[in-house]
């Protein structure tokens, strides 16, 4: 469809939120709590934060929950019954006030879960997902969306993208049919656009590196001493992966009691030492430098190579969450500078 531009003011925006919520949608909106901002389900309109630069956690759990119940089972002495879960019954989730980086991340997730084998559970959730984006008018030193072909006002992944204007109103770009249907249902809340330009208000995020160069360097940089040097500080926790909007490593676990139980898909991280450990004791990625390399390689080399997308939206969450200042932007800039000869 051809994108449309409308204007909505703050009061109307709150009304839109409330009306969507009242319609039975699960609203997923950022709230400031415990000294940080995170998305929560169905907060009151008054609780929603519009002032944060970035939430600590991403919004990937709307489609890839930290624990997903794959199916249930009941076993008795000689028989096993599988009880399937009807994922068509998951409610429509509206991600409200997601920054363009988060919105864009969904398309990367789509690739992961749909290349080759199709993950029906992911898709069931994804089909019910609506993204109301919010352009960034502020950014910090960890943001680098522009370096990965996105930007503070990027429309990718949003059904409606809002941009706050200096006058307190919002530009609403209606980008998809889904967005349009929401806008149409609540047409009275919107007013016509007067040619407002969002570029004026958008945060300035300078491009810091060429991701093409990074990808190219990585292709030949597998054995570079960079990895050892730059990962000595890494303590091997999963914070970066867990806050990342694109990291999708997972584990499959059974939980049962007295023969009844469920099989679960849980978040995991390639940074954990046990992640690739074989039963034989052999570990293909034995030390942290190899695991850190895997993380960056996966995002900036393997995924571009295999699926033609960058596994990073430049949200900077991992840098912010890292307890030991493993700053991904710093490292990517360094990687870009590396002079590595092609083999």
């Amino acid at each position: 469809m051809i994108p449309e531009k409308k204007i909505i003011d703050r009061v109307a925006l709150d009304k839109l939120y409330e009306s969507l919520k009242a319609a039975g949608n699960k609203m997923f909106a950022p709230v400031f709590r415990n000294e940080q901002t995170n998305f929560e389900y169905n907060p009151a309109a008054t609780e929603i934060s519009y002032s944060h630069i970035q939430t600590t956690q991403s919004v990937k759990n709307t489609v890839f929950p930290k624990i997903e119940n794959l199916f249930r089972f009941e076993s008795s002495q000689k028989s096993v019954e599988l009880v399937q879960i009807d994922f068509t019954k998951v409610p429509r989730v509206i991600v409200w006030n997601a920054h363009p980086c988060d919105a864009a991340a969904f398309s990367a997730l789509d690739s992961v879960f749909n290349w080759d084998y199709v993950d029906e559970i992911y898709n069931a959730r994804r089909e019910k997902l609506v993204v109301i984006g919010m352009s960034c008018i502020r950014a910090d030193e960890n943001c680098f969306c522009t370096s990965v072909d996105l930007g503070p006002g990027a429309v990718k992944g949003s059904d409606i993208l809002l941009t706050p204007l200096a006058n307190g109103k919002f530009i609403a770009e209606i980008l998809t049919d889904l967005g349009k249907s929401i806008a149409d249902e609540n047409a009275s809340l919107f007013t016509a656009s007067n040619g407002e330009n969002k570029e004026e208000v958008l945060a300035k995020v300078e491009k810091q590196f060429s991701h093409e160069k990074v990808t190219e360097n990585l292709k030949n940089g597998f054995e570079n001493s960079f990895w050892h040097e730059f990962s000595l500080r890494c303590i091997g926790c999963g914070a970066c992966a867990y806050v990342c909007p694109i990291c999708t490593c997972f584990d499959i676990q059974d939980e049962s009691k007295a023969g009844k139980g469920r099989r679960l898909r849980c978040w995991d991280s390639c940074g954990f030492g046990m992640f690739t450990l074989h039963t034989s004791g052999h570990n293909p990625r034995e030390v942290q430098s190899q695991r850190w390399r895997q993380r960056l390689m996966h995002k900036f080399s393997y995924q571009p190579d295999r699926n033609e997308f960058i596994g990073c939206v430049g949200c900077g969450r991992c840098s912010r969450a890292c307890p030991v200042d493993m700053n991904i932007l710093e490292q990517l800039v360094e990687l870009e500078k590396l002079e590595i000869a092609a083999k």
């Binding site: 076993s75 008795s76 002495q77 007295a258 023969g259 034989s280 004791g281 052999h282």
Partner: protein, 669 residues
């Protein structure tokens, strides 16, 4: 699934009266992994065991659960049955549905449910059991006997005569114990020393016995077959090699008025002394507390007179390290002293004495050469009151148990007195006469009938002194509690026998348990009376409870046989319930990270360091290793280990975890 057989016992009606055993067996048959489930009247009977054996073969069972009595009762029985049928014995478990269920609950659905829950938990546990092989450890064929009384002597001689080395340790300067102090023994009235001293000499001369008197146990480490014992040999201040036992030093010692321990304070000894003339070894010791030299730095008369120059004032205690395979504890007993009884003067009346003191008075080698004389003035008492049960069977003020020997020795004392003082009057106050034993009842009758000892059934309420006489006030309960008052010249209290001083401390050193009265506890009151709960440590004589000479001697021989049986093979088979540090393939080798915090928690020092080396011999990893010979299987290290790298065979994490989960599987009330 595993193939588990469940066998539910009725135990006659002991279980089936309150538990619906058929239902338990039926419900169990539907549990995952169970392929066979039956109930039977007596599982422990021959046909019952055959049921188990047959089922193992027929159903190719991988595990057996017997729901019956406590595993402390029949676990070995069923393990053996499994082994006979070709199933590793450690693949069987018992569900305790008798002691822990049918006997403690009334008949109800809940009781049956509980029984079923316990069975289900054990099924779950057994499906995680692994086949275990008993551990073989070498046996040091040298026994330690602690205590040189008649029990210790007997045990030492019996073991030595089986051809094994024995180390006999006695705390006092001479062996002999209480028996050496006795005048005559009941019921034969033969001379105690006459029958004992030859045996004492035999001990001293036996080629297989090493005797350490005036020595104490410092510490005991290790385990059955492999104890490491430290003995403190206290300084006698004497070169024992040189001393000939001539006794010149003891006669020349200027300190002569020291109350003699052997004489129970009724006689005296010098500062350098042998406790009694027949002492073994017949070598004196110096009593530092009373020796002039040690007190003032002068004297040394003994050193001067000693013909062989054997005195060594500067000698110090020595510590001996000895490897021992088995230990017999024969540390004996003590008695309550007369000062224990406030109603009898709390020790302030010199002529109220205890039984052991009377023995010394009656002994021909005693301070009065066998004449019965009052300690206060040396007069021959014309009237003696003997009070039995002084402190025994008195939960309020004394001890609740019967000391067992007092009735007999009181009769003996009264009899000896009558034999020596023909015109004397002997009165005995008693609660009732306990004279169970060969010729014992006859002996007491003889005292009453032939020697005219006056027996009065009743308690003595008070004794006080008046004009040189002891007024004994009591009651005759056979005459309707009629008050009785006797003016006596002397009173002998048959005081209660109690655990020896220091027995608690010794028990802790030995890791043996003891009862509330601090007597050492036997492993089983009926079936293992001479064993303790600690393997390789046995009991003989009155350290377990007061007993008379024949009992002590037979118990000593019993303990000796246990030791000999233990020494009959070169290798000892131990239960494989030991902790183990896991091993996994390299490069990790084990999940143990070698923090060694488990080392200090092990009571047996069983945790060692193992170093994994690469081909060049460089240490690539240090990790804990359990010495299976030392480990006793308490599992404290297992619960402490943070990385779960240690597990306890027989009680593995998997077993305990599944048992906990399974016992809670259903709402059970």
């Amino acid at each position: 699934m595993s193939r588990i057989g469940v066998f539910v016992c009725h135990c006659g009606e002991n279980i089936s009266a309150t538990v619906d055993v058929a239902k338990v067996a039926d419900d169990a048959s539907r549990l995952p992994g169970v392929v066979h489930s039956v109930d039977y009247k007596y599982m422990c009977s021959d046909p019952g065991q055959t049921l188990v054996k047959d089922a193992i073969k027929e159903h190719n069972l991988t595990g057996v659960v017997v729901a019956a009595c406590s595993p402390r009762m029949h676990e070995p029985t069923f393990r053996k049955a499994c082994a006979t049928a070709g199933l590793n014995p450690y693949l069987s478990e018992m569900a305790n549905v008798r002691e822990h269920c049918s006997w403690v609950h009334d008949k109800s659905e809940q009781t049956t449910q509980k029984a079923f829950d316990v069975v289900r938990a054990m099924i779950s546990k057994v499906s995680n059991n692994g086949a275990l092989e008993p551990i073989k450890v070498p046996v040091t064929k040298r026994a330690l006997v602690v205590g040189g009384g008649v029990a210790g002597i007997q045990a030492a001689l019996d073991i030595a005569n089986c051809g094994h080395q024995v180390v006999l340790v006695e705390r006092s300067p001479s062996i002999g114990g209480h028996m050496a102090q006795l005048s005559e023994t009941f019921p034969t009235l033969d001379c105690s020393q006459c029958i004992l001293t030859p045996r004492m000499v035999e001990v001293a001369q036996h080629p297989n016995i090493t005797l350490y008197t005036y020595s104490e146990i410092e510490s005991v480490d290790g385990f059955i077959g492999n104890f490491k014992v430290k003995i403190r040999k206290k300084a006698r201040n004497l070169d024992e090699e040189l001393c000939t036992g001539c006794g010149l030093c003891t006669t020349k010692c200027p300190q002569k008025k020291i109350p003699s321990e052997f004489e129970q304070g009724l006689g005296f000894r010098p500062a350098i002394y042998t406790p009694f003339p027949q002492a073994v070894p017949n070598k004196p010791i110096i009593d530092h507390d009373n020796c002039t030299y040690y007190k003032s730095g002068k004297c040394k008369i003994c050193e001067i007179v000693c013909p062989t120059k054997a005195i060594r004032f500067e000698q110090e205690d020595t510590i001996l390290d000895i490897e021992i395979g088995a230990i017999v504890l024969a540390t004996g007993f003590d008695i309550k002293r007369s000062d224990f009884f406030p109603e009898y003067g709390k020790g302030k009346y010199k002529d109220v004495i205890d039984g052991l003191q009377f023995e010394r008075l009656a002994s021909a080698s005693g301070p009065t050469q066998g004449m019965i004389r009052r300690p206060s003035d040396g007069q021959i008492p014309k009237k003696i009151v003997f009070i039995a049960c002084a402190g025994s069977r008195d939960p309020a003020k004394g001890i609740e148990y019967c000391s067992k020997i007092c009735c007999m020795y009181t009769a003996k004392h009264a009899m000896l007195y009558k034999h020596k003082v023909h015109d004397g009057e002997a009165h005995v106050f008693y609660m009732d006469i306990r004279a169970g034993g060969k010729m014992y009842e006859e002996f007491v009758r003889r005292a009453i009938v032939e020697d005219h000892v006056n027996y009065t059934r009743g308690r003595v309420s008070t004794i006080y002194e008046l004009d040189g006489k002891l007024i004994v006030k009591g009651a005759d309960t056979l005459l309707g509690a009629q008050a009785v008052e006797i003016e006596a010249d002397m009173v002998v209290l048959a005081t209660a026998g109690i655990a020896n001083e220091g027995s608690e401390e010794l028990a802790q050193k030995m890791h043996v348990s003891y009862d509330q009265h601090k007597f050492f506890a036997e492993a089983h009151p009926k079936l293992k009376p001479v064993e303790t709960n600690t393997g390789g440590i046995f009991l003989a004589g009155a350290c377990q409870t007061t007993r008379d000479i024949p009992d002590s001697v037979s118990m000593a021989s019993g303990a000796a046989v246990k030791v000999a049986a233990l020494f009959s093979s070169d290798l000892l088979t131990r239960e494989p319930i030991v902790a183990r540090v896991n091993r996994i393939p390299g490069p990790s080798h084990s999940t143990c990270v070698g923090c060694f915090l488990c080392q200090p928690v092990c009571p047996y020092q069983a945790i060692e360091r193992e170093e994994i080396k690469d081909r060049a011999g460089n240490v690539i990893k240090s990790l804990a290793r359990i010495n299976e010979g030392l480990c006793q299987g308490c599992g404290t290290c297992v619960a402490l280990c943070r990385s779960k790298s240690i597990d306890l065979l027989g009680y593995t994490d998997n077993q305990m975890h599944s048992e906990v989960l399974s016992v809670l599987e259903e709402a059970f009330v």
